[in-house]
Symmetry: C3
Subunit: 350 residues, 3 copies
Amino acid sequence: MPVRNLISFDDVSVAWWDGLYKSCTEIMARPDDYRDACRGKLLASLFFESSTRTRFSFQAAMLRLGGSLFGFSNPADTSISKGESLADTIRMTSSYADTIVMRNPQEGAALAASLYSEVPVINAGDGGHLHPTQTLTDLTTIAQTRGVIGNVTVGLCGDLKYGRTVHSLVTALAKFPNVRFVLIAPDALKMPEYMTAFMRAHLMEYAVADSLESAIGDLDVLYMTRIQRERFDGAEENVDALMSKFTLTAELMKRAKSDLTVLHPLPRVNEIERAVDADPRAKYFEQARFGMFIRMALLLDFTHQPRGIEYPAHEGEHECGNPKCVTKTELYLPKRLNADGGCGYCDKKL
Amino acid sequence: MPVRNLISFDDVSVAWWDGLYKSCTEIMARPDDYRDACRGKLLASLFFESSTRTRFSFQAAMLRLGGSLFGFSNPADTSISKGESLADTIRMTSSYADTIVMRNPQEGAALAASLYSEVPVINAGDGGHLHPTQTLTDLTTIAQTRGVIGNVTVGLCGDLKYGRTVHSLVTALAKFPNVRFVLIAPDALKMPEYMTAFMRAHLMEYAVADSLESAIGDLDVLYMTRIQRERFDGAEENVDALMSKFTLTAELMKRAKSDLTVLHPLPRVNEIERAVDADPRAKYFEQARFGMFIRMALLLDFTHQPRGIEYPAHEGEHECGNPKCVTKTELYLPKRLNADGGCGYCDKKL
Amino acid sequence: MPVRNLISFDDVSVAWWDGLYKSCTEIMARPDDYRDACRGKLLASLFFESSTRTRFSFQAAMLRLGGSLFGFSNPADTSISKGESLADTIRMTSSYADTIVMRNPQEGAALAASLYSEVPVINAGDGGHLHPTQTLTDLTTIAQTRGVIGNVTVGLCGDLKYGRTVHSLVTALAKFPNVRFVLIAPDALKMPEYMTAFMRAHLMEYAVADSLESAIGDLDVLYMTRIQRERFDGAEENVDALMSKFTLTAELMKRAKSDLTVLHPLPRVNEIERAVDADPRAKYFEQARFGMFIRMALLLDFTHQPRGIEYPAHEGEHECGNPKCVTKTELYLPKRLNADGGCGYCDKKL
C-alpha cells in the first residue's frame, strides 16, 4: 500500500519498510548516483520547536539528493503569531513545497497538518507523542549492523517511562520475528504497564533487570537513553549511585558480546562514558549517519508524489481532554477516533 | 524602460508588467525548463522584520529557478546592532549577491537600500508603506482567473483605511481599462479620502456598501482583508455584529456570480468562513502559488542584470517629519522629493 | 604540508598560502568554471555567536561553488542546551557534512571541535582569540591591489590593543619580506608590548604615530579599525577630539599616496568618513568581495578531503586559568600545550 504521509510508524507495513530500506541501501552504495535525484524539488522544513539533530539530518538528506529547503527553525522567526490557523499555514506552505517536514510541540499536530496539505507530510516529532523517523533510523542501524532486524535480544536501558523513542521502537519491532527485550531501568522510570501489555499481546518475550551490569552479557543490541535527574522525586537516597547502575562504561563493555550494537538516539549526556566512543561496538554516531540515509530514501519517495488535496468533511466537533492535543487550539479539526476509540490525533483515551 | 529595482509598483509601466506576466505564464507552462535558469545566482534575503508568507514565496521562487539564497529571517540573528549603517550593510551584502530582497519596518528603507547596492533591490514591504510584489501577486491571480485584468468590478472588503495591499491594488489597477470598485467597509475603516480622490482623478468609478451581503451579487472580483479588532475605538456598540457584516460565508457565496474570484492576501483569520475554502471560486490559496510564479519571473530578470553602483551625490540634509521614515535613523541619506513634493523616501508630506 | 583544519593562520606555511591564493585568482578569473565544483558537497555552518558578514561570506562562497549549507545562525535555534558536549555536537554534525565552519565565543573552541570531527574544521572566530579567514581576506586584498604582499609600509590605525584582526595580520605578515608598520593609536589603545616584541623578534620595523594626519603620507596600506567609546576610562578630557585624530576623512586622503590601499574589516562606524567611500583607494567593500573568493578557494580544498577521525588520547586533565577558555566547560578535553608552554587551546599562559 502506498504511504502518503509518515505520521506514525504504526501506519506502515513491513513491505513498505522493506522497500524503503532497499532504496536506502542503494543510496548508501552509490550516493553520487543520487545527487541530482531531487533536483528542482523543495522541502518545507517547519520546526515549531527547536531541534538540532533531526533538523540537520533532514536538511543534509534533502541537500545530498540535490534538492532544496526553505522554512524556519524557530517559530519566533515567523509571523504565524498573526493568528493564522495551522491548517492555513500548511495549505499556504504546501502550495510552495513538494514535501513538508514538521516538528510541533502539540500532540497530533502532524496528522492535523496532513489533512490540509497538497503534498506529503512527515512527522519529525509531535510533542511527546510520535517520532517515526527516529524509529526508521534505529531500524536501519540494526539492519546495517546485524544484517536482519529480527532474531535479537534488545536491552532497553535508562528512562523507559517517558522515553518516546523507546516506546516507538518496541511497537515497530513487533512487526519483526523473534524479538526479546531486557528492560533495564530504575523503579521510578520503569516501562509502563500498557507497553508491557503490548509486548505480551504481540508475543514478545521480556525480562526485567535492575542494573546494566547484570544484563549486558545477554544482549545483541543495547539501546541507551538519557535519564533526566528531574525525573526523580527525591525519595531515592542517592541519585548518583542509582544513575550509575544505568551508565555504560568501558569496564562494562568487557562483559558484553563481541558483536553487541550500542545505540543511543542522542544527545548523550553522562549515561555513556566517553571512553566507550572509541569501541567499535559503539554505533550511536554512525546511527546518526544512517538516519540521514534512510531520510534520503523517504524524501526521494515523498517528493515525487502527485500534488493534491481533499478537504476533510466536518463531522461535528472533536473533543479531547488532553491539554497538549492539537485539537485544543485548532478548533475546526474534524472529529476523528483511533482504532481503540481514543482521540484520533493524540491517541489519548477520550 | 528597463526596471533596475522594484520599490513601488507605481514606478513600472504596463509594458513592463506585460513582459513580466508573459515570462510568468511561460514559467508556469513549462517549469522544468526553468529549473536551472538561475543556477549559480544568489539572492540575499534580508528580513529586518519577520514574515512567513512573503519570505517563503521568494525562497521557493529562487530555489525553483535553481538559484540559491543566503540572509536572515530575523535581525536578532545578525550583528547589525554593532552600529553599521543600512548603506554599509547593503553595500557589503550586494558584494556577495546577485539580487537583494528586503523587508524592513522603516518606510522608504528599500529605496534607501537601492541607492547603495551593486545589484537590484526588491521591496518586500517597507513598514506600512509599499509591498509591490503583493500587487504583482494580485494582478497575476486576476489575469489567470479572468483572462484579462480590466473590464471588471472589484469589491474591496474589510479594513480599507489601513490596508496597504488594498491601496496598492487600487493604484495598480488605475493602469488598466474599465475598473469599477465597490468599497465595503465599516465607517471606522472606510477608504481614505486621498484614495477616493485618486479614483476620481483616474476616472475609476466606485460605489460604497455597508455590508458584504448588499454588494456581493455585483462583483467579478472580491478582495477580502483582515479587520483587526484593535482598530475599533469602543464607540461601536457591538463589534461582533459589525464584523459579521464584512465576513464571507458559504451562505453569502450563494448570492455571488458563478465566476466570482475571491482573493485574500493572507493570513486569513475569521473574515472568511472555513467552509468557503472548498468553493472553486475561492482562489486565495492558489493566489499564494501564483505569487511564487510571478516572483520567479521577477528574479529571472533581476538576477541577470549587470553589477554596478553609482553613489548618490549628497545635496544637503534630508528632513522628514515622519517618525517611521528611514531618514530618521539613516542620517546620511541625500535630499530627495517625490513627484508631489513630499518626502522622496516615505512619500509623506513635508 | 597539507592543511586539514584552519584554526590559526600561524599553522600554515607560505607555500600553502601561495597555493590557496593561486586557486583564488583562478576562481576570480573564471567563476563560471567553478559553479559546480562543490556540487553534492555540504558545509555545516555553526554560529554559536551571531555574525552577519563572516556568515554571509561563507554562505555565498559555498553556494557560488554549487555546494549547499545547513546549520544555525543563532544558538537559540538549536537544542544544544539539552546538555550535549561540544565534542558530541561536532561528531554528530560531521557525520552529515563535508566541512564545518564554526564561530564560538569560547577561546580555543575551534581547535577543540577539530579533535572530534570527521571532516575539516574552519575557525570563523573563537571569541577574541583568532579569526584566520579575516587574515586570508586581508592578505588577498593586499595581493590584489599591490601585486605582492611584501615590500610595504602598513599603517595600523585605531584600536591596536584589543583588535584581534590587527594582531592576526601582524603575525601573518611576519611570513613576508620587508614589511614595515606605523602604529597609529591613542595611548589607551596602543599595541601591546608582546606584539611589538613579536615585531622585533621577526625583524619587522615599526614606528609610532599619535595621529593619522602625521602618518598618512608614508603609507602604502592603511588598515583602519573601529574604536569603541567604551574602551576609554573617562580619564581622557575630550574623547571626541581624541577619536577625530584616528578618523579617516576625504581631506586627509589628499595627503596620502596615489596608490594607497585603505582596508577595514567592517563594520565601519564613524572612523571612516562616508565621503571617502567614493575614493578609488578605498578598498574595504572590495575587500569583502575578495574575502568571498579566498573562502571559495579554501572550501574547494577542504570539502574534497577524505572523511576520518582519530580520537584524541586522554593524557590527564587540562587546566587553564582563562575563564573564556573552552576547557572551562568542556572538561574532557585532553591536556595540550602550545609552543610557548601556554594553554594549547586559548594560548594564554598557564
